[in-house]
Each structure stands twice: as C-alpha cells, then as structure tokens.
C-alpha cells in the first residue's frame, strides 16, 4: 500500500499534521499503536474528527523503517511512502526510590490511562507526586472517577511555579480550571516521595501518609527512537528540526514532544506546520511556541538533585531484569554495565531504565535496533500489503470504546 504522506502518532501533533496535510488532497495514512486517536491527552475522548482523505490505522505499531520509505508495521505489514511525519509524543520519566516497583505504585499518566480505559478507582486514596503540569491533570481525572486525592506533591518550589505562570498568563486559565476541579486537595510544593511501603508513602518532609495508590510522574521523555533509527540528528536528546519541522533526514518531519517537551499548544502548532510543509503548502510564519517556552517549562520543573539519590543499594533500577542500584553503581559506562548486568536487555529495551541511568549515572543508552517495539517473530517476515481497514473513514471519526 502506498501513500504520499505517512504520519506516525495520532496524538494532537499527528492529528494536526493530518488535518493540514489533508488540505493538499494528497493521500495520507495515519498510524498509532492505541485503539483510538487522541494520543496521551485525548485518550478515550469520545469524538475526534479525522479529516477526510486520511486513512487511519489504530493499534498499529511501527517496528522498522527502510530508507525511501518502507514502513514495517505490526500487524498490518508494509506501507510505502515518500514523506514521513514523526509525531511520536513522549513517555513518562520514572525515578527509582525504595518501593517504587511494588504493587500500588503507578506512573501518573499510566494510572490516568488505566482509569480512562475503565479501571475502577472509586474510593481509593491516591497521592499524585512528581513534577510538572501533568500532575494536576492526572489528579483531576482520578478525582472525577471517584478517587480520593490525598494530595499532590510537586517537587518544584512554589515560587518557581508561580513565576512560570506569571510569565505565561495564557496558561493561567487552564491551571485555574484544573485547580477548581481539585478544591480541597492539598497542593504541596518542594515535596517528593522518598519511600513507598504497601498503603503508606513517606515524603521528603518526613511525614507519612496512608494511601492505596501512589501515582508518580517526574516529567516526560521524548519518544525519539524512530527518529534515531532513521538517522535524524538529535540535539540534547530532542529531534533537531528547522522552522518547517524538517529533520536532518530528507523528507522526514517531526512535530510535538520529540522536538521539545512543550505540551498541547506546541504540539498542535508544530503538527499544523509539519503537515503543511510536508505537502508543499505555505507554512505560517507565526510561531507562538518558541524554544523559550520549552526551556522555561524545563527550568521550572527541573528536578531537584536529591531526587537522583533516593534509591538505596537494593532499589531496582532495571525492572525487566531486576538489576539493583548496588549492582550498577561500580560501572563507568552503559555498554559495560549492560553487558555485565543485563540492565536494559529486557522487554523494554531500555525505554524505562535508559532515562533512569541517564539521570542517575550520566550514561547515554543508545542502541536503537529494529524491532523498535516487541513483535511476534512471524511479523518480522511480513512483506505483504496491508488489507483495507474494515471501517471506512466515517466510522473512524467516532471511535467509541468497545
């Protein structure tokens, strides 16, 4: 199957790119590994309009790309295209502290996704902890679904958060609206969890709280694996793009979180620009989301250095292979540590522990190889053309939960 443009990721950036690209009348395919469009933020939203002329394949994972481009996807098979837009979003950053791998501890966004997908959280006491605007959003969702929010522990200082909001008053209404949904919930700043035991969390202040679940999110890590696999240049861990969202690889564009963690508005604006540029349409010169916002956001929620030393010797850093801090600490570089301890060799291939060892030890875990995500062995052989989707576009426009 051949398309003029392929867009990877149906979050805000990918959807905006699809909308812009569709105006050109070119053939466009959009693929995403979730069951519905929307990405992280609009996950499970009942109505997401897909522009006409866009073929959408949900629950489709890209695991390799050949130059030119041939996309190898699971379970669809191969897709050919000349132009590629990467809108692969971000994942949560986990930081290890004693107890972080016990049942009862969740990623903040992960718990939000579970609840949106129908998991029952009624009456459960939850502490939402970590850093960044995401914490408020997660707490609001959980509360709406019946959770009792024991508090929000933001590691950044109150002063920094306030000056950030003063500098970006446009974000204020959003913050106020979220806060309004969280009346009565204590918002603690300069505080983080230091230990979790079943039904109890200890905070950096020394205080303990009785809770059922701890939802942690220490920030976002850009999903740059596909870009790296294609050979796109990264600057400081983010995909380098020009003012038309072009990466350093011809005909590969990138939009949203992989170019810098900046949230919804930036994702939408970059998606629009990438979709237009990739289809030869004029690209708006107006850029409201500049590098400055991305930098200010990062600076405001920069992690306190003490967060990197919460793990005890026996705390696990690599979940897949159960590798502890004490096991890894003697090594000086990632390759050696990986070969000797199996850290990063498990099913996640370093997606979770890579950022952890980067923050704790300064190692850069780079070795991207296909398959980019685990796929059944038989899928590695698929070369046949994917079948037409069962639903046509009008059905896709109303992704309803099964």
């Amino acid at each position: 199957m051949t398309f003029d443009v392929a867009i990877l990721g149906a979050g805000p950036a990918g959807l905006a790119a699809a909308r812009a690209a569709a105006r050109s009348g070119k053939s466009i395919v959009l693929i995403d590994d979730n069951f519905a469009p929307g990405g992280q933020i609009w996950r499970g939203a009942s109505q997401i309009e897909l522009p006409s002329g866009v073929r959408f394949y949900p629950q489709t994972r890209l695991f390799a790309v050949d130059p030119g481009f041939t996309l190898h996807t699971e379970p669809l098979g191969t897709i050919h295209t000349t132009t590629l837009i990467l809108a692969t979003g971000a994942r949560e950053l986990f930081l290890p502290f004693p107890g972080w791998t016990l049942p009862g501890v969740f990623g903040a966004g992960g718990l939000q996704a579970l609840v949106k997908a129908g998991a029952d959280i009624k009456g459960k006491r939850v502490l939402v902890a970590g850093s960044g605007p995401l914490l408020l959003a997660v707490a609001a969702t959980l509360r709406k679904r019946g959770a009792r929010i024991a508090g929000i522990a933001e590691q950044a200082n109150f002063g920094t958060v306030v000056s950030f909001l003063k500098k970006y008053p446009a974000k204020l209404p959003q913050a106020i609206a979220l806060r309004a949904r969280l009346i009565g919930v204590p918002y603690m700043t300069g505080v983080w969890p230091t230990r979790f035991e079943p039904r109890q969390v200890t905070l950096s202040t020394g205080r303990t709280l009785k809770i059922d679940y701890l939802a942690c999110g220490f920030g976002l890590v850009p999903n740059t694996e596909v870009a790296q696999h294609l050979g796109c240049r990264l600057d400081d861990g983010f995909v380098a793009v020009d003012s038309r969202q072009r990466t350093t690889v011809d005909n590969v564009y990138c939009a949203g979180e992989p170019t810098g963690i900046g949230g919804l508005d930036k994702a939408l604006e970059e998606g629009e620009r990438a979709g237009a540029a990739a289809t030869g349409q004029p690209v708006s010169r107006k850029r409201s989301h500049t590098g400055a916002f991305v930098r200010d956001l990062a600076a405001t929620f920069a992690l306190h250095h003490q967060l990197y030393s919460l793990a005890g010797p026996e705390t696990i850093l690599c979940r897949c292979e159960q590798v502890t801090h004490a096991t890894l600490a003697p090594y000086r570089e990632w390759r050696d540590a990986k070969l000797q301890t199996r850290c990063g060799m498990g099913a996640c291939q370093g997606r979770i522990c890579g950022p952890i060892v980067h923050h704790l030890f300064g190692w850069t875990a780079t070795s991207i190889r296909p398959p980019l995500v685990p796929v059944p062995a038989a899928s590695l052989l698929t070369t046949e053309t994917p079948p037409e989707p069962e639903n046509d576009r009008s059905d896709n426009a109303h992704p309803s939960n099964p």
């Binding site: 070969l339 060799m345 190889r369 038989a378 590695l380």
Partner: protein, 342 residues
C-alpha cells in the same frame, strides 16, 4: 616506572581473557589491551553454546575444562548444562548421527517427549548430554579479574612496538586489519532473542544439517539452531555470510533464518522478538583456529569461527603450554598457524 609485563595480550574477548587467566595461573604478569569494552566483540554477539564437535580434540578438551570451571563461575555467568539435541529430519540423518561419539540416540517418540514443540514428522535425534550454555561477557570479565590483568584501553596498530616476553594476538574477526596475510575472513551471523517463554524448549536444538552450514563454503547459509536461555528467553540462530562487513541486519538473511526456524519449531512464530543483532566470526579455510607462535615472540590465538566461546579455554591451555615450554594437553598440530604456509 612499572616493570613491563611478561605477556601482552591484544584483544579482551573471551579468547584473550582465557589466555590471561591461564598464564596468570602460571605466575605471569599479564596486560590486556582492547580498543573497546572488554567482551563486547564477537563474545557479546555469540550464542554461548558450549558444544563438542566430532573429531575436534580442542572442543572435547574445552568442554572438560568448562565443566571443571563451572563451580567457580559467578551465577551471572549463567552456566547451564542443558545438553544439545541434534535433530534428524529423516532416517538418513538419524543413521549418520549414530556415529557421533558420546551421544544418546533418541527415536522419534523420545525426541517428542524431550521436546514436544518440535514439528511433527522428525525422525529422531542425538542427545549430547555434556553440552552446555554460558553467558560469555560475564565469563570474560570474571577471567580477567581472576588473572588480575592490567587492562589498557587502546587500539593497537602494530605488534613490534609492544614490549613483553610474549605478545598474543587475540583480535578475533578484526585480525586481518592487523595481520592481512593471515587466511582469516569475517563471517557474519544474525541472531534473534525473544521475550521469556520458559518450558517451550528444554535443550539447545540444532539440526544435523548445521554442520554443513558451518563447515561449507557457500556464501550464504542458514541452519536451525535455537537455545533456551536460563532466563526463559529463546535465542534463535543461525546464519553465515561471507563478504559483508556492515553490522546492520540483512533482512533477507534474517527472513531465511527465521523461516527455517519456524519449520522446525512452529511455536516460534508467535513469540515476541525483543531484539536482533549481528556479529562476525573469524573464519579460516578449514574452520579451525590459529593457535601458536607466528614469528619471534608473537603468538596467535584467533580464527575461532563459530566455536570460540567453547574453545577459548582449550586455546588458552595450548598457548600457555607453548609459551611456557610445557607439554600440550592435546596435539597442537591441527591448530598451528604454519599449516597454511608450509
């Protein structure tokens, strides 16, 4: 100034590490030089199957040495005496396998009892009970530590500048870059590792046709070779290619190898693959390693093709015997470098 070492070994793969260990046991001060992380060459790419090949004294000796060493190895070395089943697709292969020394013959029903997930219709197999598996990078690091070897991180460009009583070249598939006149060619292999599927496979499974693939000279070949890791993962091999020097996956080879593996073990189709990689074997015309003095005080311990993890321990015994003037434990002639020039 520190005194110069008695022995300098170039290459900290499993072969160099085993030589360091053996010579240190004999009292030598050893320095090992590698341009990259110890154990990160072919040693990190290989399957770690400890396998005895018919008529090869070096692999027999080495397997004895592995069994003796096993009790001292750290747990992370993952030594596991799982045995090999050589699989006979038809009666001809089964009859031929009967001449293998030291194996227990399995008829078809015994084969399926041992490995119920193999495809139906196979004739039987030969079980080599002493064959084992190991995780080679950890063994390499452990051998270097036991040897108290000085490890120097540097690329070597010439041997004459190295000062020691003996210099050992253990540079594996990169040897031709240093000694272009030796008959060594890199031979590329692909491997695939799955997520954890304990109990799907119990022994290392190799088709009897493997030996044709390994010892033949065709430019490209594949063979069914699946290993259960102690972690419950499955390691899927094997492929052989001459004339390709890029590390990237050659999809046609990967496809051929997997398709062939699915024929023997259909359940593999549904196993999630988490990673694929390639590595280079140092291949000689007769597929046997080059072990022994090349000239002056320069010794070779290289050219181990697809068996160097197994034969590293035996190689070290031969090298040490030659350097120290001791009686070698097996006849060294089949492995001597001069067999190719004279």
């Amino acid at each position: 100034m520190t005194p110069s070492p008695d022995v300098v070994i170039v290459g900290a793969g499993i072969v160099g590490a085993a030589c360091a260990y053996e010579l240190a046991q004999a009292g030598a001060r050893v320095e090992v030089i590698d341009q990259s992380t110890p154990g990160s060459g072919a040693t990190a790419a290989g399957m770690g199957h400890l396998v005895m090949l018919d008529g090869d004294e070096l692999s027999r000796l080495s397997l004895d040495l592995w069994h003796a060493l096993a009790k001292d190895l750290p747990k992370q070395a993952e030594f596991w005496n799982c045995g090999t089943i050589w699989i006979a697709a038809n009666d001809d292969e089964l009859n031929a396998a009967k001449t293998k020394p030291g194996v227990e013959m399995l008829d078809a029903s015994q084969l399926y009892q041992a490995e119920p997930n193999l495809r139906p219709g196979l004739a039987g197999g030969a079980l080599a009970t002493r064959d084992s598996v190991v995780y080679a990078p950890v063994v390499t690091r452990w051998l270097l530590e036991q040897a108290k070897a000085k490890i120097t991180s540097a690329g070597v460009t010439a041997f004459d500048t190295l000062h020691a009583g003996a210099v050992i070249c253990a540079t594996g598939a990169l040897t031709p870059k240093l000694l272009p006149n030796l008959p060594i060619k890199p031979r590329k292999g692909h491997l695939v590792i799955t997520d954890r599927y304990p109990r799907l496979v119990h022994h290392q499974l190799v088709e009897l046709g493997y030996l044709q693939s390994a010892h033949g000279d065709s430019n490209e070949s594949v063979a069914f070779n699946v290993q259960p890791r102690p972690t419950g993962q499955l390691l899927i091999g094997s492929s052989r290619q001459y004339g390709v020097e890029t590390e990237s996956i050659d999809r046609h080879m990967l496809h051929r190898m997997l398709r062939h593996a699915f024929e023997y073990l259909p359940a593999l189709r549904d196993c999630n693959v988490i990673r694929t990689w390639t590595g280079f074997r140092a291949s000689t015309p007769d597929k046997l390693p080059l072990i022994g003095r090349l000239r002056d005080h320069l010794y070779l311990a290289t050219g181990h093709e697809g068996l160097g993890i197994t034969t590293s321990l035996g190689t070290a015994k031969l090298i040490a015997a030659e350097i120290l003037g001791r009686t070698p434990p097996i006849p060294p002639e089949p492995y001597r470098p001069e067999r190719f020039h004279g």
